[in-house]
């Protein structure tokens, strides 16, 4: 028998876990939770969570009970306590069975990992279980009108007063801030220090007096982002994560987690798409002998699909090669860059394939899939801007991966 030289895994114990997980999923995942998720059923959780489908609530409760909304977090904070490999197996099984994610949340993908690394015990105990259970919906207060790619030039101020901070400032691109319960926020606590050295990371209850979130209408017609204004907002200093003025280190780590999560976000979009690219192309330009009639379009679609295949394999490879600490590191820049540029390419190919049917805005003459494709095409343009532009990702790769000089 020929050997293979791919790294072998702890096959026996993992196999057992796989079997067991699958059985549990089969027994506990409601049938309607094994269908593609419509846009209006995304389970974001939070104080004002709505469940259009009661099965979604049931499914969330069952997963929460096992800690499987946060499979690899420690059990003491409500997580599943799984190893990285086990968590991967669980994800594979859920994908294989078509189970929906029980909970989407910036608490799970961004804040949680950072609290585990930098938060104090009180903060972990207060926030992590509520994230796991989907009770609190978090948003992110990073960018400001004058601080985009140059995030560290932010000017939202936090001034100590007694046991509190008084916060004033103006954040922008706070995704879903109008639905969020809490916000994790970068604020300037030392205006005299160099710009990276006077920043702190604080947690703010959006219900605090003086916080106002105002949705921004986008070119796609969607309004997923807000401007968030802070006017003399009082926040306990106990809500500071890590040391004062050392928030930049935490901010960078959180950005790595964000990049990693954005890299898989485009997948979720794709999985929710009703129509695959090749379906749209076959319908849009017709078929000759069952093949896309336009050979130039066909070549471009194949090029995209090959790149996407290579990207999915890269994601797997980097996960398999990753060090045990599970922190994303600079490779997250590559993943974020490729994922977002691929998604933009996919949406441009959708338009090229569907022609004028892909450019309807609303009303008669276009079916809901087509309208959604138009909007998603426009929405995709933000992929390479949000969470660090593609230019920023290339800067990070050049500096931190390739070691090119400043």
């Amino acid at each position: 028998m020929q050997r293979t030289f791919l790294k072998e895994e702890h096959v026996t114990s993992l196999d057992a876990f796989r079997t067991e997980s699958r059985q549990w999923l089969l027994a506990n995942c409601p049938a309607s939770m094994r269908t593609p998720m419509p846009d209006d059923e995304v389970p974001w959780g939070g104080r004002r969570a709505e469940f259009r489908n009661p099965d979604a609530k049931l499914w969330l409760d069952r997963m929460v009970e096992r800690g499987w909304t946060a499979p690899s977090w420690p059990r003491e904070y409500g997580g599943g306590g799984l190893s990285t490999e086990q968590a991967q197996v669980l994800a594979e099984e859920m994908r294989a069975l078509g189970c929906r994610a029980p909970l989407f949340s910036f608490g799970l993908t961004m804040l949680g990992p950072v609290l585990l690394e930098f938060g104090n015990e009180a903060q972990r105990r207060e926030h992590l279980p509520r994230i796991v259970r989907g009770e609190i919906r978090w948003c992110q207060g990073y960018s400001e009108p004058g601080a985009g790619s140059d995030l560290a030039s932010l000017s939202t101020r936090a001034v100590p007063e007694g046991e509190d901070f008084i916060i004033n400032g103006h954040k922008i691109w706070t995704s879903y801030a109008h639905y969020a319960d809490w916000i994790f926020c970068l604020v300037r606590t030392d205006p005299t220090a160099k710009k990276h050295e006077g920043i702190s990371f604080v947690l703010i209850d959006m219900a605090s007096p003086g916080v106002r979130a105002q949705p921004i209408r986008l070119i796609s017609g969607y309004s997923v982002f807000c401007e968030t204004f802070f006017e003399d907002v009082r926040v306990p200093q106990a809500n500071l994560v890590g040391e004062p003025n050392k928030g930049w280190t935490i901010a960078k780590r959180l950005l790595e987690h964000e990049r990693k999560s954005l890299a898989s976000f485009s997948d979720r979009h794709r999985e929710r798409s009703a129509r695959s690219l090749r379906e749209v192309a076959l319908q849009g330009v017709g078929a000759v002998d069952g093949r896309i009639a336009d050979p130039v379009l066909r070549d471009r679609i194949a090029a995209y699909e090959i790149d996407d295949t290579a990207f999915q394999l890269t994601r797997r490879r980097l996960a398999d090669e990753a060090s045990a600490d599970g922190r994303p590191g600079p490779a997250s820049a590559l993943m974020k860059l490729c994922a977002t540029e691929l998604n933009k390419r996919r949406m441009e190919l959708m338009v090229a394939s569907a022609g004028t049917q892909a450019l309807g805005w609303e009303g008669e003459g276009f079916n809901p899939d087509e309208i959604r494709e138009t909007r998603e095409w426009l929405r995709s343009k933000a992929n390479s801007i949000e969470g660090g532009t593609s230019e920023i990702q290339l800067n990070i790769i050049a500096k931190r991966v390739l070691g090119l000089p400043d």
């Binding site: 601080a147 070119i219 004028t356 450019l359 309807g360 009303g363 003459g365 343009k381 801007i385």
Partner: protein
Amino acid sequence: MALALSSEARLIRDQAQAFFAERSPVRALRQLRDSSDASGFSRPLWQEMTELGWPGFLVSEVHGGSEFGLLGLCLVLEAAGRTLAPTPLLSTALIGASALLLGGSAAQRQEHLSALAAGERLFALAMEEGAHHAPSHVQTRAERTDRGWRLNGEKRFVPDGGLADMLIVTARTVGEAGNADNISLFLVPAATPGVTVSRRVMVDSRNAAAIRLDAVELGEDALLGEADAGMAVLEPLLDRAYVGLAAEMLGLAGEAFDRTLQYLKDRRQFGVPIGSFQALKHRAGLMFCELELLRSAVLGALEALEAGAPEAALLSSAAKAKACDAVWLIGNEAIQMHGGIGMTDEHEIGFFLKRARVAQQTFGDGPFHRDRYASLMGY
């Protein structure tokens, strides 16, 4: 002939640019969109354009036109492109007039050209039946009747279809979609019984329409050109349409580029204007090259069209192909370089991206025109 504008032409261009900047800036398009105006254009503004003589640029003085020619008209279209002004100029002044000049009988010209030049009668070319430009893909049927013709069929994505008083309709007597023979052109009043026009709200907020033709009865005089020889009119007509649209796209791309360049100079991050970053500089340089190539391609095609040169068809497809390249590159780069602010509906740059993609898909995208170019070159 030099490939540069005469001082007279520069005057026309400057006048048109000033007009659109003042009377139809991008916010006028936004207002039309937000007011859900059913026509997607402004009649009072059209009246003003009419006073400047633009609808009659191709029309002879006998019919009240100015005979300023295709180049002059395309300079106006370029200016309209710079502010994304939705005007019926392309459909009426260029396509409508050219259809009558290329295929119309003396009686048809007599009947329509004066009204067209006076801006009183609007035209639209009802040609597409699929989601991609395909002039010979015609399933709409034309049957002979005692008094003339009867049309049945469905047209899609007719630019300015909802405004037009007269439709220029392609239909076939026999044969199947895709076959370039047996296609005829008809002049159909939009008010004819059996014609149903439904607006389609596109991403560029203009007035595109779907048009149903249910047993539409027409007289003999509705035929434009020879029966079954519609392509002889349609092909040179489309060459002009390609270049007219390419001129509008040149304006669109030029303005989107200028705005982006200004943003690169104004927006500061890391303590410097972002336009000082070399990666962005080089990309701006490449956009500039695309724009210069497009400008030359449009002028070259106009020169050939005006001279009736044999390479006119070739250069028309080259111009539209380059226009598609340029608006794609510049439209996408404009958003990316504006960053988050460019994604907001409040900022105007997004309107350029939206119009760019519709214009790209109108009258053939890049691959369509490269295929046509190669075929015309014999390879």
